[in-house]
């Protein structure tokens, strides 16, 4: 009885998986990702990219939560954060995670870049992935800087002023840069609105698709070092898959419920 139920369940499951596979290719995609050959030597430093992705995801999630209470106006920016820290349930936790994982993110993304550089993973055919990565690290840096100013406390405020003075030294378009970022020629309410827009919409909207491109290019060429260092593992993997396919083709002797599988 139990065996029969179990067999039927398994068959239903297989049917559903097949249905999904036909429509989305989800099984073969998942298989490709899970059985992807990765370098064995120094494998921990190859997780830095995933760590970066994880931390950025955390930033997105906690950022969405912070927006439930944050008010982007010069009157209320600081006090709304004070409210988050003191009154909102687990506000300290959400903002703490957003703040500390942002700090950690900058460290991890830097290490990821160092690893890529030292292992020579930027070499052909992966140059464009390096270029996209540099764009990503710049975006993350500006995100960190604008997030600093959103607190609108003395520290964040003067950090932003210093940032504006740095931007004013841009050759030729310095004045345009600063007046664009300030929303005028002085620091004021328009400045905070702009910082908010850049931090919450503009840069995340740029970041997300670029991460997509980064991952697409990574999958296209594979993890660096995998192909030549681990060719024997690749061969083994291919052999296993062939065996699986052969088994699929021939079918097992019989199914679990005793009926031959069609």
């Amino acid at each position: 009885m139990m065996a029969r139920v179990r067999g039927r369940m398994r068959e239903r499951g297989r049917e559903f998986a097949g249905w999904m596979e036909d429509r989305t290719r989800i099984i073969s995609i998942g298989e490709k990702q899970l059985y992807e050959p990765t370098p064995k030597r120094g494998m921990w430093i190859y997780t830095l990219g995933s760590a970066t992705l994880f931390l950025i995801t955390v930033q997105f999630l906690t950022g969405i939560l912070l927006l439930f209470y944050y008010v982007p106006s010069t009157d209320h920016a600081w006090s709304s954060i004070y409210y988050i820290m003191k009154d909102a349930y687990f506000g300290w936790l959400v903002r703490g995670i957003h703040f500390w994982s942002a700090n950690l993110l900058l460290a991890v993304i830097g290490l990821h870049m160092v690893r890529t550089f030292l292992s020579g993973a930027y070499k052909p055919p992966r140059e464009l992935n390096w270029v996209v990565g540099v764009a990503l690290i710049l975006i993350v840096t500006i995100l960190a800087f604008t997030g600093y100013a959103l607190r609108w406390d003395q520290e964040g405020f003067y950090a932003w002023e210093v940032g504006m003075k740095i931007a004013s030294y841009t050759p030729l378009i310095g004045g345009w840069m600063v007046s664009f970022l300030l929303g005028g020629d002085t620091v004021g309410p328009a400045t905070l609105s702009r910082v908010f827009t850049i931090h919450v919409w503009l840069l995340p909207a740029l970041l997300a698709p670029l991460i997509g491109v980064h991952l697409f290019l990574l999958r296209l060429h594979g993890e660096f070092g995998a192909a030549f260092e681990y060719s024997e593992r690749l061969a083994k993997l291919r052999k296993n898959r062939q065996a699986e396919e052969l088994e699929e083709l021939l079918g097992p002797e019989d199914g679990d419920d005793g009926t031959p599988r069609g």
Partner: protein, 206 residues
């Protein structure tokens, strides 16, 4: 099969139509958002406008400026940006500047020594104007607030070590030039008034 789906040749007219329509649609889609977002830059850089209306504000009196060190004043200017802090409606808010005022070389002129008020003649005003420094406290390097250090008898910046004399002249550190100097006037009763305009250009963050 390959022949069937062969591309049709484009005529010159079609090409021009597509190019023209494409440019038009592209312009409609891109120009308004860019001009919208760059609005303040266009106002400031192109039309030469400023957030702070052209008004005079009182700083203090020449009789309040001590000998040997600058006096610091807080001066509130009106500021027009997208909305105003602390007010229900959009309109004019305020921006507060810290203004350092000192005598040239710290030497108090004879005319004001030991007095706390008095009527100044036009020639006396001219003479005092040449001896007065009216400066912004924003460092010309990165905009940090500078302060007078009595021990060093210099104006110091806490951020990157910019050093200025009591006249606001650049002595050392990274600042590119001396402190920003306000356009100012002295009235007959000794009142110092400033405009939100600077002799050396635009400091941006003040």
């Amino acid at each position: 099969m390959a022949e069937e789906i062969k591309k049709e040749k484009m005529t010159r007219g079609q090409f021009l139509l597509m190019g023209g329509l494409g440019s038009f649609v592209g312009a409609v889609l891109t120009i308004p958002p860019f001009v919208y977002a760059l609005g303040p830059s266009i106002k400031v850089m192109f039309r030469g406008k400023t957030d702070v209306p052209n008004v005079w504000r009182v700083v203090g009196s020449v009789f309040e400026i001590p000998s040997g060190e600058p006096e610091t004043f807080r001066v509130e200017f009106p500021q027009k940006q997208s909305y105003s802090a602390g007010q229900p409606n959009a309109g004019v808010g305020t921006i507060t500047d810290a203004v350092l005022v000192s005598w040239q070389g710290g030497k108090m002129p004879e005319r004001v020594k030991g007095k706390d008020k008095g009527k100044l003649s036009a020639s006396e005003i001219e003479a005092l104007k040449k001896k007065l420094n009216v400066m912004s406290n924003a460092c010309t390097h990165m905009g940090c607030p500078v302060r007078w250090s009595p021990a060093d008898r210099q104006i110091l910046c806490p951020c990157h070590g910019g050093i200025y004399t009591i006249n606001g002249a650049h002595v050392g550190g990274p600042p590119p030039h001396g402190l920003w100097r306000y356009i100012f006037e002295i009235r007959e009763d000794g009142t110092i008034r400033i405009k939100h305009e600077f002799a050396q250009g635009t400091p941006w963050v003040v």
